[in-house]
């Protein structure tokens, strides 16, 4: 069953068309990769799906069969859709525990999610999200914060960007854990290693358009053939 269906989406911001035409689908239990070079419109597409302000959006976004195009962001989240932001906010004054508990009412589960991203809850729960965390730690908290919601679908926008030490292998394990816990995943990445390690299917996005769908390795190959500048861990 399709969880997320996006049809002929066009997204404009600041008078510029950033997403020219995008259609994709994520089924229940699937991990789907959205691969493309920097600047191809992947993050804009993710924010438009989530309902971020400041975009003119045309086209159709259906979640669990419901047209959510006109819903505000929090209503989309309450229906089981969430986004792990590429650049986590600093949240001055807010503690890690408070941020995590914004998305759920089960502290034990929230602490477990924190442990899953490699942070000891006893040490980090009361830490302040702004001054109290490094950039890499903040990114891990961001990853934990999506999982505390037990979402039906999580969009991971460049989850390895700014992450302090986790290798693509560890990150791939974490994404598989998300699936086992009941979340489907739309993984946005321009990391070749990550894209080849996880994913049942993949889409290729180039210059604001989704141009191919296929096996993740095949899509990575096509991306490189098209001159797509993917990042490799070894590089």
């Amino acid at each position: 069953m399709a969880l997320l269906e996006v049809k002929d989406l066009r997204v404009r911001a600041g008078g510029r068309e950033i997403v020219k035409r995008a259609s994709l689908r994520v089924d229940e239990g699937e991990i789907v990769n959205l691969i493309g070079p920097n600047g191809s419109g992947k993050s804009t597409l993710a924010r438009a799906i989530m309902g971020s302000e400041g975009y003119e959006v045309e086209g159709e976004i259906r979640f669990k069969g419901e047209d959510i195009s006109d819903l505000p962001m929090h209503e989309r989240a309450r229906r089981g859709l969430t986004l792990c932001w590429q650049e986590p906010a600093r949240f001055e004054g807010l503690t890690v525990g408070e941020y995590l508990m914004a998305g759920c009412d089960d502290e034990e589960w929230a602490r477990r999610c924190l442990r899953m991203v490699g942070l000891d809850p006893d040490e980090y729960w009361e830490r302040e999200c702004g001054e109290g965390l490094s950039g890499g730690e903040r990114k891990r908290v961001e990853l934990a914060s999506v999982m505390v919601m037990r979402p039906d679908l999580v969009i991971l926008d460049e989850p390895d960007a700014g992450l302090d030490m986790t290798s693509s292998e560890d990150l791939a394990k974490l994404i598989e854990w998300m699936r086992r816990e009941g979340s489907s995943v739309l993984l946005i990445t321009h990391s070749r290693d990550l894209a080849e390690r996880v994913g049942d299917r993949a889409y290729l996005m180039m210059d604001g358009e989704i141009v191919e769908e296929g096996d993740p390795e095949e899509i990575v190959y096509k991306c490189r053939m098209c001159g797509g500048d993917l990042v490799c861990e070894a590089e």
Partner: protein, 307 residues
């Protein structure tokens, strides 16, 4: 819970009320309900024709770890409360004052407070003043005169971050003598037609005296906040700092005025002011976890005011 605010926040810590011997003054509208003093303290409260006068004297050298509790308020919709307070902390004494001013059902309430704090040489006074004005708001007029003696220390914190403000007018004047220090912290969240007008001034008249005025306020959806923090450096080695950090949301307005006056060339005064709006991406990050925009804003503002 009362309107999202815990009983503890309205009436003070439960364990405090459970202790019948804890020092306290409880004033309901203009009636003195309870006065409980302690050896080393002189605590008196007297009903006047149109209000209450309360006086606390902390005897020389006396130190108390637990706070003296001032619990004042009006638990019904309408009323006028006038309180004159004088607190004297004698030399080398140390005390903490926890004041809860609670008006949980206020619709038409006036609360007037005239207070004098005298912290004598080598003494320490810590004042925590927490207000709750319900969802109706209160007209609050407060006037403080503060004197900090040689080597003495006063730190005060005023907090009104839950519920509505109403109209708040507050003037505070302080004098700090040689090697004395004063710290004044204000945290306020104002919404809709709330109005806040605060003027704090401190004269650093003694050598090596210190003062910090630190205000944080949020003006949300039409609220008006004006803060003036004034320091005057009048002695060699005097140091002071004014810090104002304000958040505006919707059509809220904030006027933040740090004023510094250096009379002695060896005094050093600084200020820092930051006015801004909440970051959209912080609001959206919380919305993507299922909080409405209003809930997200409230959470962020409360976090900002906590510091």
């Amino acid at each position: 819970m009362r309107g999202g605010v815990s009983e503890e926040e309205v009436f003070g810590p439960a364990e405090y009320h459970a202790d019948p011997d804890a020092p306290r003054v409880v004033i309901l509208e203009n009636k003195v309900v309870n006065v409980q003093d302690r050896e080393g303290l002189e605590l008196e409260a007297e009903e006047l024709d149109d209000g209450v006068r309360a006086e606390l004297v902390v005897k020389e050298g006396f130190e108390l770890d637990e706070p003296v509790h001032f619990c004042v308020g009006i638990p019904w919709e309408e009323g006028v409360q006038r309180i004159e307070t004088r607190v004297v902390v004698e030399p080398e004494a140390r005390i903490r004052l926890l004041s809860h001013c609670s008006f949980p059902r206020a619709e038409d309430v006036l609360h007037e407070m005239k207070a004098e704090f005298v912290v004598k040489d080598g003494a320490e006074l810590e004042v925590q003043d927490i207000h709750y004005h319900g969802e109706g708001g209160v007209r609050l007029r407060a006037e403080y005169d503060v004197e900090v003696g040689e080597g003495a220390r006063l730190s005060s914190e005023f907090r009104l971050t839950k519920g509505r403000v109403g109209e708040l007018w507050w003037v505070s004047r302080g004098v700090v003598r040689r090697e004395g220090s004063l710290e004044g912290v204000v945290r306020i969240m104002a919404r809709e037609d709330d109005k806040v007008d605060i003027e704090e001034s401190v004269r650093l008249v003694g050598e090596d005296s210190r003062a910090v005025l630190d205000s944080r306020a949020a003006a949300i959806d039409g609220a008006r906040v004006r803060f003036v923090g004034e320091l005057s450096g009048e002695a060699p080695g005097a140091k002071g700092h004014v810090e104002c950090s304000e958040i505006i949301r919707g059509d809220g307005r904030v006027e933040s005025v740090p004023k510094l006056k250096v009379v002695d060339p060896d005094a050093r005064l600084t200020h820092e002011a930051a006015l801004g709006t909440l970051e959209r991406r912080e609001i959206e990050a919380l919305m993507s976890r299922g909080l409405s925009e209003e809930e997200a804003v409230e959470m962020l503002v409360e976090a900002m005011l906590r510091g």
